[in-house]
């Protein structure tokens, strides 16, 4: 009997594995599965971490003694710029994204993230972008204006070399991966939780990641816009940040910190999620105050967007405005306090097992709380004026980031290691690693607070003897090297464990969450059948769950039609809505990312003629990617025995794709709002803003263009509404008509742009208008192309009454395009007219 079950399970495993695994050899480059991609993110991120750490060691060597000349000032500026950039953009965020990508589907009982090809695209963009940035270091032309790239220091006048371009283009490229991870994590968490996992039963880690993903959606676009504008200023002579012509360097600081501050919490939230996941497991007690924690997460997600000016307390903003930000900054102490004490309450009421991950959690507490306190100090304006831009801030920031991110990350690493390798690491070596790291870290940075208070500014390559800083710097350097040894021990421990580690039992920590219900090491498809959830701690309440999953007692236990399938469910209740069929291995993400990388390299080398074909090829591959959807043979062609209850997602009207589009439009809308902010900011606060009496854009043609767009979108919405009712006659004709009207609108808009006497290299006013018009054109053009493709797909029956999915995905894009058009019309044309000259 038992043998028969084992045999049956093995057969199921082989059938599922055939559908879910990637081809060996070169086929690994076509992999899209979240386990593979997540691990790649983690490993790549750790390699970048080592590079960033090496740069830090060089910095500490240079500063160990006064008046040293081990590195030149020019190189030193590259070192600290790259250290910050690498650690923030190429290590912290990608690694946490990778961890989330690896864990989330397993925690919510799904087989993959909802947009697997997007995971792969994100990874390649991250890797190529990271390599482009690193290459500048090898070529000795690395960015050297600080990781914050303040203008005018980073402008072409004061940084004529290509360093800043590497930063701006490379980082923007890398950010594609952050945005794509953000979108797919949101949609995955909201729409692909397994049966019965309502919001209140979701593992608390998912709440953290949901908040982080939304913060990426709203936090990254300001920097992306800022980078695009600064690169336009550097490469094409536009004016946004240069005072002559009407720009303002403060605009850059606003855009940068609008991203930069939320980013700290984008890094902290997933790490806190690890803490909230581990503490209940090691206390063997459900998290005390789940609702409090959820409250704290939501509050943190919002409040952290209201703090950015506390990085700008010394730029000369009215001090009442500073006080608003000071108060908001301190308010963050409340959700932090709630979490710290909810964790305390959990530990208080449980029997705590003091294993290695728990040691790192305690390390986290000490270091992070200390950093939090110096954070509250820094939020106090009069104190901030003294220590801003000194080593005190360097110390604070490392306490927060290393404490708030690195310590929980290593705790999580040790905790989930058996899940990846099936082996346990060495407790003894691990403890050595911890203590070396902990002592080294505190030695380096605790003393650095004092160095800062004694007046040592940041970003100085050397210092004189006699200022009272010698001993402190030496101690910091020694501590830095001890930290380095600690890192080496940890890496050694992890490397050795793959070979010598004791085989792990299933669910070795007796955890409560679903990721431990998978076989260890994990299979390509996670779960042989997708479990039904009744409580928040399924593994504690149903210890036989792994076995039952493997025996195929739950849903989707057999692959049908060779499709990769997972559940699609209601965002709130977790009731089943559809079967989501996921794309299998694909070369398109790698190809698209490669051509985007080529485009970036062309932009860097200023070979613009080559950049255009590279860009077109990338777009072509992305369109081909969109082609392999719906009822296309590569996706899910119509079958005779299709499951109707629940249906395949491509046969529905409100599938994950539409959600993905809406979330993407939120990010896009934030980018646009940042541009709008820039416009109003320069208008009201730019020191030498100038606007012509008559707007340069012809009013009536623009109005006509808007009228056409309105008609087009109304028609499109009408067509889609009919399709939703199952009426598809005349759909193709209707789509072509919408396409045609859209095209006329596009042509009119293009004419408006070309005919307008805009001089973007002369004034910031014209620069902003030009960017705005190009933004509108881009959207209209893309919408027309996508609608045309839909018309063709209707003709060849990939789309229709039976598969109405895709026109519904496209609808929010059209509505968005219409929305930004009229907002632009009001803000850039009507308002200046009403005001009397914009």
């Amino acid at each position: 009997m038992i043998e028969r079950i084992a045999e049956r399970n093995h057969g199921r495993h082989q059938r599922l594995d055939r559908v879910w695994s990637y081809k060996p050899g070169w086929g690994a480059f076509a992999a899209v599965n979240h386990t593979t991609i997540g691990l790649r993110f983690l490993v790549t991120g750790l390699i970048f971490f080592l590079v960033g750490g090496l740069l830090a060691m060089l910095i500490r060597t240079q500063l160990a003694l006064p008046n040293q000349n081990i590195v030149s000032p020019a190189l030193y500026n590259q070192l600290f710029t790259m250290h910050g950039t690498v650690m923030m953009f190429l290590f912290a965020i990608p690694v946490l994204e990778g961890a989330a990508m690896y864990l989330i589907p397993k925690m919510i009982g799904a087989r993959d993230l909802v947009f697997p090809r997007l995971s792969a695209l994100g990874y390649w963009c991250y890797l190529f972008g990271g390599l482009i940035i690193m290459s500048s270091l090898l070529l000795n032309i690395a960015p050297d204006a600080g990781w914050f790239m303040y203008t005018p220091l980073s402008s072409i006048e004061y940084s004529p070399g290509p360093g800043s371009d590497f930063w701006l283009i490379g980082i923007t490229f890398v950010e594609i991966s952050a945005i794509s991870a953000g979108v797919e994590l949101v949609v995955s968490i909201l729409r692909t939780r397994t049966k019965g996992m309502s919001l209140n039963r979701m593992p608390v880690f998912c709440w953290y990641i949901l908040a982080m993903a939304f913060m990426i959606i709203f936090g990254f676009p300001p920097l992306i816009l800022g980078s695009i504008l600064l690169e336009l200023e550097r490469a094409a002579g536009f004016i946004f940040f240069a005072v002559d012509g009407g720009g303002d360097p403060l605009l850059w600081q606003h855009l940068f910190w609008l991203f930069g501050h939320p980013e700290v919490y984008i890094i902290f939230l997933p790490a806190a999620g690890i803490v909230s996941t581990l503490i209940p497991v090691f206390a063997q007690r459900p998290l005390v105050g789940y609702r409090w924690i959820v409250l704290a997460i939501i509050v943190m997600g919002f409040i952290s967007f209201g703090l950015w000016v506390h990085h700008m307390f010394t730029v000369g903003i009215p001090s009442l405005a500073l006080a608003f930000f000071s108060v908001a900054s301190m308010l963050v102490a409340i959700p932090t306090g709630i979490q710290i004490f909810a964790w305390l309450a959990t530990l208080w009421s449980g029997h705590v097992k003091y294993s290695l991950p728990m040691l790192w959690i305690v390390g986290f507490l000490v270091v992070f709380v200390c950093g939090g306190f110096t954070g509250v100090m820094l939020a106090l304006v009069p104190f901030n004026w003294q220590v801003h831009d000194t080593h005190f801030v360097v110390a604070h920031m490392h306490y927060v980031l290393v404490g708030g991110m690195m310590f929980p990350l290593v705790a999580g690493l040790y905790y989930w290691l058996p899940h990846v390798s099936g082996r346990m690491s060495s407790e003894r070596l691990g403890r050595w690693g911890f203590w070396l790291f902990f002592i080294g870290f505190n030695l380096t940075f605790f003393i650095m607070h004092l160095t800062g208070l004694l007046g040592m500014p940041r970003r100085v390559y050397s210092y004189d003897a006699g200022l009272g800083w010698e001993w402190f710097n030496l101690i910091s350097s020694i501590g830095g090297f001890i930290t380095g040894i600690g890192v080496a021990v940890i890496i050694l421990d992890i490397a050795l464990h793959f070979r010598f580690g004791r085989k792990a039992d299933r669910n070795p920590w007796n955890a409560d969450t679903l990721e431990w219900a998978t076989p260890m090491p994990v299979t390509t498809y996670n779960f042989a059948s997708l479990p039904t959830i009744e409580t928040r701690t399924p593994m504690w309440d149903r210890p036989d769950l792994p076995e039952r999953i493997e025996n195929g007692e739950f849903g989707l236990d057999e692959p049908r039609h060779d499709l990769r399938e997972t559940w699609g469910s209601d965002a709130v209740t977790g009731e089943l809505k559809e079967i989501v069929h996921l794309p299998a291995n694909s070369w398109l993400p790698l190809l698209s990312a490669s051509f985007i990388a080529l485009m970036c390299i062309c932009l860097l080398t200023k070979s613009y003629l080559l950049a255009l074909p590279a860009c077109l090829l990338a777009v072509g591959y992305l369109l081909q990617w969109s082609w392999h959807n719906g009822a296309h043979p590569i996706a899910a062609p119509f079958y005779d025995d299709e499951p109707y209850s629940p249906p395949l997602h491509s046969r529905t009207c409100d599938g994950p794709g539409r959600w993905g589009m809406i979330i993407t439009m939120m990010a896009n809308g934030t980018l646009y709002a940042s541009l709008l902010f820039g416009w109003f900011y320069l208008w009201t606060a730019g020191p030498s803003w100038q606007a012509p009496d008559d707007g340069p854009i012809s009013f009536w043609p623009l109005l006509a263009s808007g009228g056409l767009l309105t008609i087009c979108v109304l028609l499109y919405r009408q067509l889609v509404a009919r399709l939703g009712r199952g009426e598809s006659n005349g759909l193709e004709r209707g789509l072509w008509l919408a396409c045609l009207i859209g095209l006329v609108h596009f042509a009119t808009l293009l004419w408006v742009l070309l005919a307008a006497p805009l001089q973007p290299t002369m004034s910031a006013h014209d620069s902003v208008l030009t960017v705005m018009l190009m933004y509108l054109l881009l959207h209209s053009g893309l919408a027309v192309i996508l609608t045309g493709l839909q018309a063709v797909r209707v003709r060849i029956r990939y789309v229709g009454a039976r598969a109405p999915y895709e026109p519904f995905v496209l609808r929010p894009f059209w509505s968005y395009t219409l929305g930004v058009f009229w907002i632009s019309f009001a803000a850039f044309i009507l308002l200046p007219m009403g005001w009397g000259g914009g």
């Binding site: 220091l153 005390v288 010394t314 306090g337 004490f341 530990l347 304006v381 009069p382 020191p687």
Partner: protein, 227 residues
């Protein structure tokens, strides 16, 4: 014993650029804020860490859900809400008025002396309005009197900072920022650029020389006659 420790501490805190060795009212209140917050937060940090370690060590016996709920209410309400709210309120009640006192508000008696300071890559140009006195990397002020520095820049962003006298303020392209400084007693005070401004940022230092008010007036006159 305590005497020796505080002596060591105090001597460790002095230094030509030390913000903990204040020589002006603004720097003094900032240093006071530091010591107050440092003491307060050290105590809280020690308590929180001790609580955690005890919670890990202690044997709770069997805890029912009702008891866990009570623990939660006690800790989360007490530690997570009341503690931060009270701390923040106290800090802001003290801190905001202190911040206000550092602003270049109109004085009750007379006007603050105005000095123009323009930052360049990588030097400071100082000029005294209504005179033709111009100095480089050297600023003379009367001691015991409020001085308003009108800060501008000729190129990138810099930041004017004399740690022993007052906090720092950036020089922004296209703008004039006003920083009020005051030295308690005559003497030489060191300053430096605090905002990264390029290759020679490290060497962008300057000195502030405070005179007795009478000496300052004669210095200014003499200087003017020289030029």
């Amino acid at each position: 014993m305590t005497g020796i420790a505080s002596c060591l501490l105090l001597s460790a805190c002095s230094g030509p650029l030390s913000s903990l060795d204040p020589a002006g009212p603004h720097a003094a209140s900032a240093a006071l804020l530091w010591w107050g917050m440092f003491g307060f937060f050290t105590v809280i940090l020690l308590i929180v860490v001790a609580l955690w370690l005890y919670a890990i060590k202690r044997d709770p016996g069997t805890v029912s859900d009702v008891e866990a709920q009570r623990t939660q209410n006690r800790w989360v309400l007490g530690g997570g809400l009341i503690l931060p709210v009270v701390s923040i309120t106290v800090i802001l009640l003290v801190g905001i008025p202190v911040g206000r006192s550092m602003l270049p508000l109109p004085l009750e008696s007379g006007q603050a002396l105005r000095v123009d300071v323009q930052a360049h890559q990588w030097r400071w140009e100082v000029s005294y309005p209504d005179t033709d006195v111009g100095l480089t990397n050297e600023l003379h002020i009367p001691a015991g009197k409020a001085v308003d520095l009108h800060l501008t820049t000729a190129d990138v962003i810099h930041s004017f900072w004399v740690p022993r006298l007052a906090g720092k303020l950036d020089t922004m392209p296209g703008r004039t920022n006003i920083l009020r400084i005051e030295a308690d007693a005559p003497g030489t005070y060191h300053g430096q650029c605090a905002e990264f401004c390029g290759l020679e940022h490290t060497d962008m230092r300057f000195t502030v020389i405070a005179h007795e008010p009478a000496t300052f007036d004669s210095w200014l006159k003499e200087k003017q006659n020289d030029d």
